[in-house]
Amino acid sequence: MSFTPNIQAFCCHYTSQQTLAEGPQGLLADGFPKSVTIHRLVCTGKLEVSTILKAFEDGADGVYVAGCPLDKCHNLMGSQRAAKRVAAIKKALAELGVEPERIEMYHLERGFHPGFVKAAQEMDERITTLGPSPFKAELSSLPAQTKLMPSGCQGGAK
């Protein structure tokens, strides 16, 4: 059975400038896989762990973060912070018995760079090989009416 992965990419403004310049069609022409959905951020240092986990909850088979080179982040330490958060999620995924390779951190050059497309292709290939996310693969075994998502957050005593 063919499998088209759902990959969510969180990219900083600087590493994803190509998306603005070329647009979706231009990226596809460069070989950017259709399986990847790009979320642009001002800086990957702004990315919260909970946002990445939410992507998995919402059905992502794989997630990656693209930030500036470790020693050349526009915001000095943003991509370093993102890398540490990605590492923390890798650890949590492993504890849950899920392949930690389903999330990755890439440090890419800014602007137009083949690395931007190559990272997406690498994740597309990796996640296609790994198959559907274990978080949703076993959902199909549940009755359709089963409620899996949270009922929402409630604030505690202030």
């Binding site: 919260e48 762990v49 909970s50 986990l53 939410k54 998995f56 909850e57 949590a92 504890e95 849950l96 018995g97 899920v98 274990p134 978080f135 949703k136 076993e138 959902l139 075994s141 549940l142 089963t146 409620k147 899996l148 998502m149 949270p150 009922s151 957050c153 409630q154 604030g155 505690g156 005593a157 202030k158």
Partner: protein, 222 residues
């Protein structure tokens, strides 16, 4: 403050394996400051629990909330608002919070989301070190403000021992010998009496060796 760190998620998943409705409860006290059990960590843990349940093919709903403190009855009482809405509580407070919930809500299944590690301080961003053991009989006035109970591997009252080499403890090269530090400090502040003093055999009954400790302030009781 009390230092804690989140338990491995697989350990927590095992605790709540039979629960379908889980209250993930943070604390705005110490565990918020040390980034172990505040609002942000509650959000992350709740998400991980949902993912773990999804992987196991089990249904679950979570309530995420954070109390001002979990070590005061008045805040535990505020949990009434979620009565009947959960099967289990995962408390992200220190062990005190878990105990308070267990004490005050006898029918609740409450589980610890964190390991309570020490009384410590932030040595640098993301690093906390133990500074106090809560032994109940403070000797810091004799030791230049540096605690031999918490910071000496043997809790020696007269140190250093023979394992002190180059100012480091024999247990690990990254651990300073606190008795070397105490001697250095007493020299710096010219405390000759302190340097020469021999501490008597210590009574450890205040350190929990005499059973659970209770503090009563008659001027505050009603």
């Amino acid at each position: 403050m009390i230092i804690a760190e989140r338990k491995p998620i697989n350990e927590i998943m095992d605790m709540v394996k039979d629960a379908k409705r889980i209250l993930v409860l943070g604390c705005r006290g110490c565990v918020t400051v040390c980034s172990a059990g505040g609002e942000r960590e509650v959000e992350i843990l709740a998400s991980l629990i949902r993912l773990g349940k999804q992987k196991a093919g089990q249904e679950v709903s979570t309530i995420e909330a954070t109390l001002v403190r979990q070590c005061d009855k008045e805040y535990i009482d505020s949990m009434d608002q979620w009565d009947g809405q959960y099967d289990a509580i995962v408390s992200m407070a220190c062990g005190v919070g878990v105990n308070f919930i267990a004490n005050l809500r006898p029918m609740a299944k409450v589980y610890p989301g964190v390991n309570t590690v020490s009384f410590g301080g932030s040595a640098e961003q993301g690093v906390w070190s133990e500074q106090c053991a809560g032994c109940g009989n403070c000797v810091l006035h004799l030791t230049g403000g540096l605690c031999p109970v918490a910071r000496c591997a043997k809790s020696l009252m007269n140190g250093p021992c023979g394992g002190s080499v180059g100012g480091r403890c024999e247990i690990h090269k990254d651990v300073p010998c606190i008795w070397q530090s105490i001697h250095d400090k007493l020299v710096r502040i010219d405390n000759k009496e302190g340097l020469a003093a021999i501490a008597p055999i210590r009574d450890w009954s205040t350190a929990g060796h005499g059973g659970p400790r209770k503090t009563v302030r008659n001027d505050l009781t009603v």
